[in-house]
């Protein structure tokens, strides 16, 4: 027993590193009270080490700690994604004017960022409903605090409170769903759950209720309609860095846990390999249709409401809801191709969404405003920032020559190959709608004049370098996309599934 635990620890290095980083960051904060940069350095080093350990897990497969967690290619992919965005967000935070105000101690901010990352990384590998719930709670709790970190701003506190209430409610409903699943099957382990469900000796109606309730928790994490109500307020009120992190990493972790839950528990493990890589779903609950409905609702509502937004953060919040809808289209396929498309889209989404939020942050640093109206004449004031923002937004729309196009291409290809024609049409119409509100930003930046003729916006060399780091993949992976496609296709392997 003990030997087993000790040998399992060797698969747990990334998480352990984050735990140690968290504790060290707290202690460093107590010693170097006046210089949060030291804490940031500790956290950055911890993230880098975590990243190295995660890359070292490439190709390993194991179930550890009594089937609580798993290490497989799928988990490693999301761990890489989450750690990478954590590093980028940490770098963003260093130059955020909103956070670095005199009299605020940022040490806690950085250590909580580590805790949040730990929660998300645990979500990526959890294979037990209890572990899934615990990981979701860890990441939710820290998100609540970080959302309200700029507590002197009223909308930040408001956002935090709303987040707590919605989060509490949906995690309660999810826990109820999990308890019904446990009552039905007598197990919390996803693999055993699958075996019991495969016997078919389950009341369909009860399974429907349990499935929908559990779905509430996942839907809340990925901000899918109708569990999205917290998203606009939280994204608007939270510090921009946290908004960026929540919109990318939190969503990625939510998708990781959702896809794993579907594939491990609801795919017939005995069916073996099916032509075309489609999963053989167990009878009893029509997951594809259910996810398709949520997907259509999510992207349509996200895009339609985004049309009326005049705050940049709120606009990007609704755009991220719409993107959750696009990503869900890949899940609907319930096959290897669809999952690979989701992963490819996530690589694109990481760079384009973080990039868009970063530019919004740099502009807000200087102008103190996030209103789309205040972007008038920005092209003359900050040519490079405007160009970057345009590229990120073009990528979010899914037009060439950006990586967003590749992401959308694979998503739609997966849909068409699996016969979900109507869903692909709805997705296409939505992409066209989304073009309108992204173009609104271009129009303000390039075609409209600023009457007050404000001065140029200068950004430092470090910020420019960070921006270039985000811009290069956007263009590069459009012209040379085989690496990300191969990486994604190799990463769909989930432990113990056909």
């Amino acid at each position: 027993m003990i030997e087993q635990l000790l040998s399992d620890l060797s698969f747990f290095k990334p998480e352990l590193t984050l735990v140690v980083t968290f504790l060290t960051a707290i202690l460093t904060d107590l010693v170097f009270r006046r210089s949060p940069v030291v804490v940031a350095a500790v956290c950055l080093a911890g993230f880098a080490l975590t990243g190295i350990f995660i890359l070292g897990q490439n190709g390993e497969e194991a179930l550890i700690f009594g089937n609580m967690l798993t290490v497989d290619a799928f988990a490693v992919f999301f761990k890489v994604l989450i750690t990478l965005s954590a590093i980028l967000v940490l770098v963003f935070s260093l130059s955020s004017a909103e956070l670095n105000t005199p009299g605020r101690s940022l040490g806690e901010y950085y250590s909580l960022l580590v805790a949040l990352t730990l929660g998300m990384i645990l979500m990526a590998g959890a294979t037990n409903l209890l572990m899934i719930y615990l990981a979701i709670e860890l990441s939710s709790m820290t998100s609540y605090i970080l959302t309200g970190y700029t507590r002197e701003a009223p909308d930040s506190s408001e956002a935090s409170l709303k987040y707590v209430i919605y989060g509490g409610l949906s995690s309660g409903i999810m826990l109820y769903g999990i308890s019904i699943l446990y009552g039905l099957t007598g197990t919390l382990d996803l693999y055993q759950l699958n075996q019991v469900l495969a016997t078919g000796d389950i009341n369909d109606f009860t399974l429907l209720i349990a499935g929908v309730f559990t779905m509430v928790g996942f839907g809340y994490k990925i901000s899918a309609v109708p569990f999205h109500f917290w998203t606009p307020d939280v994204y608007e009120g939270a510090p921009i860095t946290i908004t960026a992190f929540l919109s990318v990493a939190s969503k990625a972790a939510g998708f990781a846990v959702f896809i794993r839950f579907l594939k491990v528990a609801f795919v017939d493990a005995g069916a073996g390999e099916v032509a075309g890589g489609f999963w053989t779903m167990l009878q009893g609950f029509d997951w594809p249709l259910m996810v398709a409905i949520v997907s259509v609702l999510t992207m349509t509502l996200g895009n339609l409401v985004a049309l009326w937004q005049d705050n940049m953060k709120r606009l990007l919040a609704y755009s991220s809801i719409a993107h959750a809808g696009y990503l869900l289209m890949g899940v609907v396929v319930m096959g290897n191709e669809g999952t690979a498309a989701v992963l490819i889209y996530f690589i694109a989404y990481l760079f384009m969404n973080l990039g868009a939020f970063y530019v919004v942050m740099l502009i807000a640093n200087k102008t103190g405003s996030e209103d789309v109206e205040d972007y008038r004449g920005l092209a003359a004031r900050a040519p490079f920032l405007s160009l970057s923002l345009s590229l990120f937004l073009i990528s979010l729309t899914g037009l060439p020559p950006t990586v967003g196009f590749i992401g959308k291409l694979y998503l739609f290809a997966a849909l068409l190959n699996s016969g979900w024609i109507w869903l692909a049409v709805v997705g296409g119409i939505n992409t066209v709608i989304s073009l309108y509100y992204y173009v609104k930003v271009f129009r303000n930046m390039y075609l409209r004049e600023d009457e007050e003729k404000k001065g140029r916006i200068e950004v430092g060399a470090a910020q420019l370098a960070t921006l270039v780091v985000l811009l290069v993949p956007i263009i590069l992976f459009f012209f040379y996309f085989p690496p990300i496609v191969e990486f994604a296709q190799a990463s769909i392997r989930i432990f113990g599934t056909p």
Binding site: I2, L6, L23, I26, L27, L30
Partner: protein, 146 residues
């Protein structure tokens, strides 16, 4: 016919009927003679002042949270101490790690000043006309009622 949960349901129904029955019977046969001091909140013979919904100091909450953490620590320490001789060094190291993690939290709370209980400066009451008058009408009614 009757499943195990059916018995639980019957238990619930009997429980509800028992409570409702007691209350209804008492309501039917008890004398009903209310007067103001009987209807006031019972507070050990004191005349009640103000609302029960007052604001508590947030520090009580912080202290309760910290207490909870160390309470859980003790809960984990007891079974550990019982099986310690069987597990040996592994258990010792593991518990040291656990306590160190908690200790970091304790150091954090201490250093951040969450254990400081800065009391507000005491307000010494001064005599003002009209303050401190007893509400004698309540007492009079009590005498009449008894």
């Amino acid at each position: 016919m009757l499943t195990e949960f059916g018995r639980v349901l019957i238990f619930f129904i009997i429980g509800a009927v028992f409570v409702a029955g007691g209350l209804v019977t008492a309501w039917l046969i008890r004398p009903n003679r209310p007067y103001p001091s009987k209807l006031t909140t019972y507070e050990c013979g004191e005349v009640p002042i103000g609302d029960t919904r007052v604001r508590f100091n947030i520090r009580f909450y912080v202290i309760a949270l910290i207490f909870l953490i160390f309470d859980v620590e003790v809960v984990f320490l007891f079974p550990w101490a019982l099986v310690y001789s069987q597990l040996g060094w592994f258990a010792f190291v593991e518990m040291v790690i656990f306590i160190v993690i908690l200790f970091v939290g304790y150091a954090y709370v201490w250093r951040k000043g969450d254990l400081d209980w800065d009391r507000p400066a005491p307000k010494i009451p001064t005599f003002e006309k009209g303050v401190g008058v007893r509400e004698d009408h309540l007492l009079e009614e009590q005498v009449v009622g008894s």
